[in-house]
């Protein structure tokens, strides 16, 4: 075959009201990716939309649709193409898209989870050491055996500045993925939106509870795995397959789409103590509060001139920092 067709956009919905353009991308036999906006942007409004439409499509119990996997500005539909044609699936999704005009009206139940973090701990340092030894000797994102100085460089701030930003904002989960129970968390306060490139190539090992950032997204590694985010610290368990601790009684995973987490700094000893009290003693009490997240209120905060002014200052520091930092 000489003329290969690389055009993978099977259909589109035009931009309307608060909805960006919706692109339906071919993603394999049995996979369809729905993407919001033709120009990738980091805007949590897209995630609020993804989760709302996702819920509506799933409620239809469409025959042949196995599952959906929401991301920050995309949703992946996994289906049996022998039962459900991609054309029919697109029609079903479009019907729900057209019903949701005003994203500002969305409100949802959200848990606020307080998580301790030990910055620059010895376990995550081992992962970086292994990477430099086995995968990429001389990696430019590893400075003094770790990633946090490189992160500071990219964001035009100090190492302490990175720690402060991580703890200053609540982080919102747009959906679980990557490894069992891991959530993809985004800063709700745009003034603390750290941005860093990912590893090139990725790591082969990361310890349980490692916290990393890639692009603007924060991830907690639930089990020892590979990964490509820059590492700066370790938090407490978020996954327990043995389901011994009461928190994991219903499911071995903890995070849910729509959750928020907030970090506070502790020592590595305290983190290790909590591991013992989650996995062995099973008596650690997680700090969780539930309230209603209102998109309208968040937008009001986000769009305040004083907030936006600080965002512009951050962006300028990041632009200069990224230019000065070596490319991975």
């Amino acid at each position: 075959m000489d003329q290969k067709n690389y055009d993978v956009i099977l259909d589109k919905l035009p931009e309307a009201e608060s909805r960006p353009e919706v692109l339906f991308r071919q993603a394999g036999d049995g996979f369809l990716q729905v993407e919001y906006g033709s120009i990738p942007r980091f805007n949590l409004v897209d995630s609020f939309r993804v989760l709302t439409v996702n819920g509506a499509v799933k409620a239809k119990n469409i025959k042949g649709l196995y599952e959906t996997v929401p991301g920050i500005r995309t949703n992946m539909f996994h289906f049996d193409p022998e039962v459900l044609s991609v054309k029919k699936l697109i029609e079903e999704i479009e019907e729900e898209e057209n019903k949701l005009e005003h994203v500002e009206d969305i409100e949802f139940e959200s848990r606020l989870i307080s998580l301790p973090i030990a910055f620059e701990d010895s376990e995550t340092k081992k992962a970086v050491e292994k990477y430099v030894k086995e995968v990429r000797p001389g990696a430019p994102n590893v400075i003094n055996g770790y990633n946090i100085e490189y992160m500071a460089m990219c964001n035009g701030c100090s190492v302490q500045g990175i720690k402060d930003m991580v703890c200053a904002t609540e982080w919102y989960n747009s959906g679980n993925g990557f490894w069992p129970g891991g959530g993809f968390f985004w800063p709700l306060d745009p003034r603390y939106a750290i941005v860093v490139p990912k590893y090139n190539p990725p790591r082969t090992w990361t310890p349980e509870g490692t916290v990393g950032i890639g692009g603007p997204c924060l991830y907690v590694y639930p089990t020892p795995t590979g990964g490509g985010y820059q590492l700066f610290g370790r938090t407490i368990p978020i996954f327990q397959f043995a389901q011994k601790h009461p928190l994991f009684k219903e499911s071995p995973t903890f995070f849910k789409a729509g959750d928020r987490i907030k970090f506070h700094e502790v020592t590595e000893e305290e983190i290790l103590y909590i591991y013992k009290h989650v996995h062995e003693e099973t008596d650690y009490v997680y700090d969780i509060k539930t309230d209603k997240f209102k998109v309208k209120d968040w937008l009001e905060f986000y769009n305040k001139p004083e907030v936006q002014k600080e965002v512009q200052e951050l962006l300028a520091r990041q632009e200069a920092g990224t230019k000065a930092a070596p490319r991975v």
Binding site: K4, Y6, A27, H78, P81, W179, K198, T253
Partner: protein, 327 residues
Amino acid sequence: MLKIINGGIETVVEDWPGRIGYLDNGMSSSGAFDNVALGLANVLVGNQPGEAGIEIAGGYFQAEFETDAVISVTGTDMKPTLNNQPIPLWESIKVNKGDVIKFSHFAEFGFRAYIGVAGGIDVPLVLGSKSTCLFGSYGGYEGRKLQKDDVLKFGKPSKDLDSLKGRKLKPEAIPEYSREWVLRAIPGPNTSPDYLTKEGMDYLFANSHKVQLNSNRSAVRLAEASELSFARPDGGVAGSHPSNVLDHAYAIRGSLNICGNTPILLIADGPTLGGYMSALHVINADLWKIGQGTPGRDFIKFVFCTQEEAVEARKQQREWLSEKSLA
């Protein structure tokens, strides 16, 4: 029952299609790396093609049967023996209590062998599947690869053992192995013109990509593609490298991601979501070949395929992995 004497390099219990429906919780499907070899092994011993069997990667597996059974060995020819006598591949044989089965290492072609057992492997269902997820440490036999002194239980055979032994495949039903594995693939979701250039996409389809030694059950890494041309100077808000995207779900199993300049195929236990672009997707019916690609030796070549061809190929594979393939 089967008592393990030597677990070998990496031997795991896997079924097919694995654990479907948990991607949105970060749980990949796992499942047999080569579902064709597993499927045919099962058909030979009278099981459903997706029943759990034993997947042997690399080799050196050794075990003793503690009950009479009917088994079949498929996949790469690891020169299996029973009580030190060679046994044939791609047919069912009767084994007796006390018999010892022993494998050497992977052959000239292929990397994984499978043992099918009449009645299947009896391990608990975890979220609907018997498959082992090595990276999550759950499913299969205690969530891990098999080791010395483990004891695997068998399920109930579909017929009496004597009527299941001596079953063979039609010669044309035995898969052809190679050192260059040709995989049919559908472009998307990140292609030209917005992520790679047309030349970049052509590069992926035109070249043979060597399977790297640091491949495992979650990802098969291919040789670095330094000539791969991107359509963007960087990843915008997602990071400085043009292969970076804002985190999205991966079409797993079968997605070819571009991570920096390294193309990586995501399979069995792989990540469900992440921040690298996905250029193409290996069709469901050709996933099995990835499991036979020998790290450090074999090559993978992608051939352009349409949605319609991919759906047709699924139907053909279902026919292939059925009793119609028996001689």
